[in-house]
C-alpha cells in the first residue's frame, strides 16, 4: 500500500478521557488503576459536518505497553515511538511522583494520545492490523495479540548483549547512531535534572514574594497616607506569587517533549542493537562455513592445518579408515551446502535490515530535528510569556508604590 496512505489520514484518533477503576488483579487482590478512553472517528464524517458520535473503548496503560512490545518485536528495524513514562521522574518537589495524581494522569493521557498519533502517522506502523484492532476492538484484543506469538520472537537480552560485544564489522553508520543515542540520552537526562532543580528554586523565589503581600497588607493597617498604596501593591505581590504555578505547568509540557526524545533515544539504540545482532549472526554463520570448508580441505588433502582434538587423537590412536573419511567428507559437504544457504539467507536479512532501518532512521532524524526545534521555540515563547507577566505585575506594583 502507498506510503502516504497513513491511518491518520482516514481516521481521527484521540485519548479523550481518563478514569479510575477498581478491580481484582491477577493474584485476586483489589487494585485501583486508571483507564483511558480512546476515541476514533472517520475523517470524512467530520468534514461532512454530520459529526457523528465517535467509536470509543477503554484501555489501561499496560495494554499500551503490550501493543508497543508487539510493535518492537514485529518491526525491529523501525524506531518505534515511545510511551510516556511509567513512573514520574525528574520531578521537582511540588509535582507529585504518585501515579494516581490527577496532574500526572492528565499528562499521561496527553502522552498516550501522542503515542497513538505517532504510530498512526508512521508509514509502516500505521498499516499494522494489531494496531488497528487496538483502536477499534475492545474485547478480544488481548487474545489476538497473544496469538501472534510475538513474545516468543523477542530476542533475549543476553543474546543481544553477547552480539554487541562480539560483533566484528557492524555497519559504521549504525555504530555512530548508537553512540549518538547514548549521547542524546545522557544529555537530555542531564537537562531534565537541571531543569527540575531550577524549577524548584524558581518556585521558591515567586512564593516568597507572597509574604510581601501579607506584610504590606498588615503594614497598611497602621498607616494613613501610605495605606492604600501598600494595600494594592500587596495584591500585586500575591498575584506575582501565584503566577508561578501556571508558568511551571507550561514548562512541564516542555519537559514532556524532551522526555519523549529521551525515550526515543532508547528506541533508536534498540534498532542499532538489532543490527548488531543480525550482523553477528551473519558473521557466526560465515565463520562456521569457513571453518567447515577448511575441515573439508584438510580431510581431502590429508594435511592438518588446524589443531583439533580429533586430529590429535587420530594421530595417537591411528588414522581413520578410508570409509570413515569418505563418510565424514560427505557430511561436511552437506553441512557446507547448508552453511552456504544460511549465510546467503542471513546476508539477505542483514542487507534488508540495514536498508529498511536506515530509511526509518533518516525519517526519525528529520522528525527529531523538526520536533526539538519546535520544542525550543515553544520554550522561548514560554519564557517570553513569563517575562511579560513579570513586567506587567511589577509595573502595576510600581504604580501602587508611587502612591504610597
Amino acid at each position: 500500500c502507498s506510503k502516504s496512505n497513513f491511518l491518520l489520514k482516514k481516521m481521527e484518533i484521540s485519548v479523550a478521557e481518563a478514569e479510575k477503576r477498581t478491580g481484582k488483579n491477577a493474584v485476586n487482590m483489589q487494585e485501583t488503576y486508571t483507564v483511558y478512553l480512546i476515541e476514533t472517528r472517520p475523517v470524512d464524517a467530520a468534514s461532512e459536518g454530520t459529526n457523528p458520535v465517535p467509536d470509543s473503548l477503554w484501555r489501561r496503560y499496560s495494554e499500551f505497553e503490550q501493543l508497543r512490545n508487539y510493535l518492537l518485536v514485529t518491526y525491529p528495524f523501525l524506531v518505534v515511538p515511545p510511551l510516556p513514562e511509567k513512573r514520574a521522574e525528574f520531578v521537582w518537589h511540588k509535582l507529585s511522583a504518585d501515579n494516581m495524581d490527577p496532574d500526572f494522569v492528565e499528562r499521561r493521557r496527553v502522552g498516550l494520545e501522542n503515542f497513538l498519533l505517532r504510530v498512526a502517522s508512521h508509514p509502516d506502523l500505521s498499516t499494522d492490523k494489531i494496531f488497528y484492532s487496538f483502536l477499534t476492538e475492545e474485547n478480544g484484543w488481548k487474545e489476538t495479540v497473544f496469538e501472534t506469538g510475538f513474545q516468543a520472537k523477542a530476542d533475549s537480552r543476553l543474546k543481544a548483549l553477547n552480539a554487541t560485544f562480539r560483533v566484528k564489522n557492524p555497519d559504521k553508520r549504525f555504530a555512530e547512531m548508537k553512540h549518538y543515542g547514548d549521547e542524546l540520552q545522557s544529555v537530555i537526562s542531564q537537562l531534565l535534572r537541571v531543569r527540575a532543580r531550577a524549577a524548584d528554586r524558581l518556585y521558591g523565589v515567586y512564593k516568597v514574594h507572597g509574604n510581601y503581600g501579607r506584610v504590606f497588607s498588615e503594614w497598611s493597617a497602621i498607616e494613613k497616607e501610605m495605606g492604600d498604596g501598600l494595600q494594592s501593591a500587596g495584591h500585586h505581590m500575591d498575584a506575582y506569587a501565584a503566577s508561578v504555578d501556571d508558568i511551571l505547568e507550561e514548562e512541564e509540557h516542555y519537559a514532556d517533549q524532551l522526555k519523549e526524545y529521551l525515550f526515543y533515544a532508547d528506541a533508536l539504540r534498540a534498532v542499532c542493537r538489532k543490527h548488531e545482532l543480525t550482523q553477528y549472526e551473519l558473521e557466526m554463520a560465515a565463520q562456521d562455513l569457513t571453518s567447515k570448508k577448511q575441515q573439508r580441505e584438510e580431510l581431502a588433502t590429508g594435511t592438518i592445518r588446524t589443531f583439533s582434538l580429533k586430529g590429535m587423537t587420530s594421530k595417537l590412536f591411528g588414522q581413520e579408515t578410508p570409509e570413515q573419511r569418505e563418510a565424514k567428507l560427505k557430511m561436511l559437504e552437506t553441512q557446507i551446502e547448508e552453511g552456504e544457504e544460511l549465510v546467503k539467507e542471513r546476508n539477505g536479512e542483514c542487507e534488508e535490515f540495514v536498508k529498511s532501518a536506515w530509511v526509518d532512521i533518516e525519517r526519525f532524524k528529520e522528525q527529531k530535528d523538526h520536533d526539538l526545534r519546535e520544542a525550543l521555540i515553544s520554550y522561548a515563547i514560554m519564557q517570553i510569556s513569563m517575562c511579560k507577566k513579570g513586567i506587567q505585575v511589577w509595573n502595576n506594583a510600581k504604580e501602587c508604590f508611587s502612591k504610597m
Partner: protein, 432 residues
C-alpha cells in the same frame, strides 16, 4: 524579634515544604546601640550645659526653635562620603572615609571642606546629637559588625555598603533643621583630625555621666504615670512598624537567598544545551543559541540580585534600626516625664528646701514641655522622610524588576527572531 515572619504561609494554600521556618540566623549584633542607650545621653543631664551654644535657654524661645519648615529649594549644604582607605597601625587596622562638604552657609569659614573620618567619629557625632536632643530622632548608623555571613570586617562589599550608609547618615543630619546647625556637626565636617580628637575629649566627664546614668535608671524604674494618649499611640505605632519593617527586611533577604540558589541551578542549564549541540547537526545552531540565551539571562539575574542586596536591603535595614531609635526616643521622653512627676510628688510631700525644689520642678516642667514639642514636630518630619525613603526604595525595586524582565524578554525574542528568519529561509517551521 518578630515571629510573624516569612515562612510557611504560601498564598496558594499549598502546604509545600519549600519554605521552612528560619528566623534563627537573623540575629544582628546590636550592642553598640544598647551601649548608647544605657550610658544615657538622655534624660536629666539636660540641664542646659550641653546645649548647642547658638540656642537660647528660655523655654518660650526654645519652643519656637522647633519650626520644622523645610525649604527643599534652599539646600545650602552638600555632603558626600567616599574613598575608603585602609590604615594600619601597631595596635589596629581601620578604615577612614573621605567626607567632603560644599556649603554656602555663613557660619562655615570656607565653602569647601575635605576631611577623613572613621566609623568611631560617626558614632561620636551621633552620640553628641542624641545627648543634646534626647527626644529628636537621629537617623541610625550602620552597625559595627554584621554577625551572620560576614567573616572579614574589611571585605569590599561590606565597606561599600557601610560607606553608602554613612553617606545617607550625614545627609539625613544635614537635612535636619536642628541637627544641621549643630556645632558638633560643623566640627565633624570641618576639623582636622587632631582638632576633632581634642574636641571629642571635652564634654561631661566620666563621673558626671555616671551620676546622670544613675538618675536615668532611677527614672526609668519609676515609670511614667500619666502618659498623654498621643505618645501611647506613637508607641503602639512604633511597635507595629518595627515588626512590619523587620518582616520586610527578612522577606527581602529570603528572596535574595532564593534567587541566588535559583541562579546556581540556572548556571548549569546553558552549558548543558551547549554540550547537547555538540552531538547534533541541524539542531546545533538553535541549541547553541538557547545556551547563549540562558547564559545571558543568568547574567541579568545576577545583576538583579546584586541590586536588591545593594539598594533595597540597606534601606529596609536602616528603618529597622530607626524603629529601635524611635523606641529609645519614646523611652527618653517617658523618663523626662517620670522625672517631672517624681519632682511634683516630692514637692507635695516634703517640707524642707521647697524653694530649690520648686525651681527644680519648674525646670523639669520646661524640659518636659520642650521634649514633648520637639518629639511631636520631629515625629511628623520623620514620618514624611520615612514615607519618601521607603516609597522611593520600593519604586526603585519595582523599576529594576521591570528592567530585568525587559532584558530577558529581549534575549528570548532575539532567539525567536533568529529561528523565524532561519525557518522562513528553509520553509520549514510553522509558527501558527
Amino acid at each position: 524579634m518578630s515571629g510573624s515572619v516569612v515562612d510557611n504561609t504560601v498564598s496558594s494554600g499549598n502546604s509545600s515544604a519549600a519554605i521552612p521556618t528560619d528566623i534563627s540566623g537573623q540575629i544582628l549584633d546590636l550592642d553598640e546601640d544598647d551601649d548608647l542607650e544605657v550610658f544615657s545621653k538622655d534624660t536629666t543631664l539636660t540641664d542646659g550645659s550641653s546645649f548647642n551654644a547658638s540656642m537660647q535657654t528660655s523655654p518660650a524661645s526654645m519652643i519656637n526653635q522647633y519650626k520644622f519648615e523645610e525649604d527643599a529649594d534652599t539646600k545650602d549644604i552638600f555632603v558626600t562620603v567616599d574613598n575608603p582607605e585602609s590604615h594600619v597601625t601597631a595596635i589596629e587596622t581601620y578604615i577612614t572615609y573621605r567626607v567632603m562638604t560644599k556649603t554656602t552657609r555663613s557660619e562655615f569659614d570656607s565653602s569647601e571642606f575635605e576631611v577623613r573620618r572613621r566609623y568611631q567619629d560617626f558614632l561620636w557625632l551621633k552620640g553628641r546629637l542624641e545627648e543634646a536632643h534626647p527626644t529628636l530622632i537621629v537617623h541610625p548608623l550602620p552597625e559595627k559588625f554584621v554577625v551572620k555571613g560576614m567573616v572579614e570586617r574589611f571585605n569590599e562589599d561590606f565597606i561599600e555598603t557601610r560607606r553608602r550608609a554613612l553617606h545617607r547618615f550625614l545627609n539625613k543630619i544635614a537635612e535636619h533643621p536642628i541637627f544641621s546647625s549643630s556645632e558638633d556637626f560643623k566640627i565633624f565636617l570641618t576639623a582636622a583630625s587632631g582638632e576633632l580628637t581634642s574636641h571629642k575629649k571635652q564634654g561631661p566627664g566620666f563621673l558626671s555621666r555616671m551620676g546622670d546614668t544613675v538618675k536615668a535608671v532611677a527614672a526609668a524604674v519609676r515609670g511614667v504615670r500619666n502618659r498623654p494618649q498621643e505618645f501611647t499611640e506613637m508607641q503602639e505605632y512604633v511597635e507595629a512598624f518595627s515588626q512590619k519593617i523587620s518582616s520586610l527586611d527578612k522577606v527581602t533577604q529570603r528572596i535574595v537567598r532564593e534567587q541566588k540558589e535559583y541562579l546556581e541551578e540556572l548556571k548549569e542549564c546553558g552549558p548543558t544545551y551547549a554540550l547537547w549541540s555538540q552531538s547534533e547537526e541541524e539542531l546545533a545552531e538553535p541549541l547553541k543559541n538557547v545556551a547563549g540565551c540562558v547564559d545571558r539571562c543568568c547574567k541579568e539575574t545576577e545583576e538583579q540580585v546584586k541590586n536588591l542586596s545593594d539598594q533595597l536591603i540597606p534601606v529596609l535595614h536602616e528603618y529597622v534600626l530607626c524603629a529601635d531609635t524611635l523606641k529609645a526616643v519614646l523611652r527618653r521622653r517617658d523618663n523626662i516625664q517620670a522625672d517631672f512627676e517624681a519632682k511634683t510628688e516630692a514637692l507635695a510631700t516634703k517640707k524642707a528646701d521647697r524653694d530649690t525644689m520648686r525651681d527644680d520642678l519648674d525646670k523639669a516642667e520646661d524640659r518636659l514641655e520642650w521634649a514633648n514639642n520637639a518629639l511631636k514636630s520631629d515625629w511628623t518630619r520623620w514620618q514624611k522622610v520615612m514615607r519618601t525613603d521607603l516609597r522611593s526604595a520600593f519604586v526603585d525595586t519595582a523599576e529594576r524588576n521591570v528592567s530585568y524582565y525587559e532584558k530577558c524578554l529581549a534575549v528570548w525574542e532575539s532567539f525567536l527572531h533568529s529561528q523565524r528568519t532561519d525557518a522562513e529561509g528553509n520553509g520549514k517551521v510553522d509558527f501558527s
